[in-house]
């Protein structure tokens, strides 16, 4: 499997201690399942990092109501400082300290893109791994 590693993704490793701010048009709680679902124009910010999507499911622990996982779907974009990652789906695990982006995953650096089957970010270190079918697209300069 093709694999590539990048330096830290934005300020994620610092931002992980910050509160998570969720904004959306609507939010539905399901007490029985310990989940919250956010719809339309969902934006989650933590420090200087922003995850946006059209749909987000938040899963809480059944024992202490701590946040365990955030699942984002449709037009997912993760932005931290100048680093941007896009995909169809993202899973932010607060237990495993990781963000996994899959489905048309791409890392955008200026006008260049790196495509991969999966972008895996360690939120403790910010280390970014691009896994499977890694392809770099460098756009020629117009000058």
């Amino acid at each position: 499997m093709a694999q590539s590693q990048n330096a830290g993704f934005g300020s994620l490793s610092i931002d992980r201690y910050e509160p998570l701010h969720f904004n959306s048009d609507s939010l539905i709680f399901n007490q029985a399942k310990n989940i919250a679902e956010l719809f339309d124009g969902v934006q989650i910010s933590q420090g200087k990092s922003i995850l946006s999507a059209e749909y987000v499911k938040v899963i809480y622990s059944k024992t202490d109501n701590s946040l365990e996982k955030i699942l984002a779907e449709r037009n997912v974009e993760l932005k931290s400082n100048t680093d941007i990652a896009k995909a169809d789906k993202a899973v932010y695990s607060l237990i495993e300290n990781s963000i996994s982006l899959t489905g048309n995953a791409q890392l955008v650096q200026g006008s260049n893109k790196i495509l991969a089957d999966q972008i895996l970010i360690d939120t403790k270190t910010g280390l970014t791994q691009l896994l499977g079918g890694v392809k770099t697209v460098i756009l020629p300069s117009t000058n």
């Binding site: 969720f22 939010l27 399901n30 607060l94």
Partner: protein, 199 residues
């Protein structure tokens, strides 16, 4: 040595069998004739009390009922008094408890509430607090509760807390899609939720 032998005639045997089936039939008849409790469509006082006769107020009323959604309502107040509107009564120190089977209960309280007989709703005003057994606490300027189905609506600004989270929204709706479904707690019209990460 002689042994004592007891023998029953066929008559005794059939009599015992008859009595057994008679008892069984009696039990079936008791259960069959038991009155089925139908869920009432509203809290009883909403239809039983003539609001115009409440000039001196009804002191410390206490009522309970079952909604069409199958949830139990328990209502308590300090006093119910008549208002200028024929179908509306003013309630002082109102509290309402809603219990759903196997789900956390909901408790509503306020200093004042308005009971509208025609619209079959109870509107909590002044220091309105909504709490659930699983530690959700919501405040809003006004919270309206339907008395015939399980439906709670609050129009903003709504603010609330629950373990590790705070929430603000423009509207809150609590309802059930059908009688057997889970209770849905829906925040709309601009939701802001903050989760404090555990260090």
């Amino acid at each position: 040595m002689s042994t004592l032998q007891i023998s029953y005639s066929n008559t005794i045997f059939y009599l015992k069998l008859f009595l057994f089936f008679l008892g069984l039939l009696a039990i079936i008849l008791i259960f069959w004739s038991a009155k089925k409790i139908e869920p009432s469509t509203e809290i009883p006082f909403a239809k039983d009390v003539d609001f115009t006769s409440l000039n001196d107020g009804l002191i410390e009323p206490l009522y309970s009922s079952i909604t069409n959604s199958g949830d139990e309502l328990q209502f308590q107040a300090q006093q119910i008094v008549a208002t200028e509107k024929k179908d509306t009564a003013l309630i002082k120190s109102a509290s309402l408890k809603i219990f759903s089977e196997n789900r956390p209960g909901i408790f509503l309280s306020s200093e004042k509430a308005l009971l509208n007989k025609d619209e079959k709703n109870l509107t909590f005003i002044d220091n309105v607090v909504l709490e659930t057994e699983d530690k959700i606490e919501i405040t809003a300027p006004k919270i309206s509760v339907s008395l015939d189905i399980t439906l709670i609506r609050a129009n903003g600004p709504i603010s609330g807390t629950f373990p590790n989270n705070t929430i603000k929204a423009g509207q809150l709706d609590i309802f059930k899609v059908n009688n057997s479904s889970d209770l849905v707690i829906s925040f709309t019209k601009g939701v802001e939720m903050v989760y404090n990460t555990l260090q």
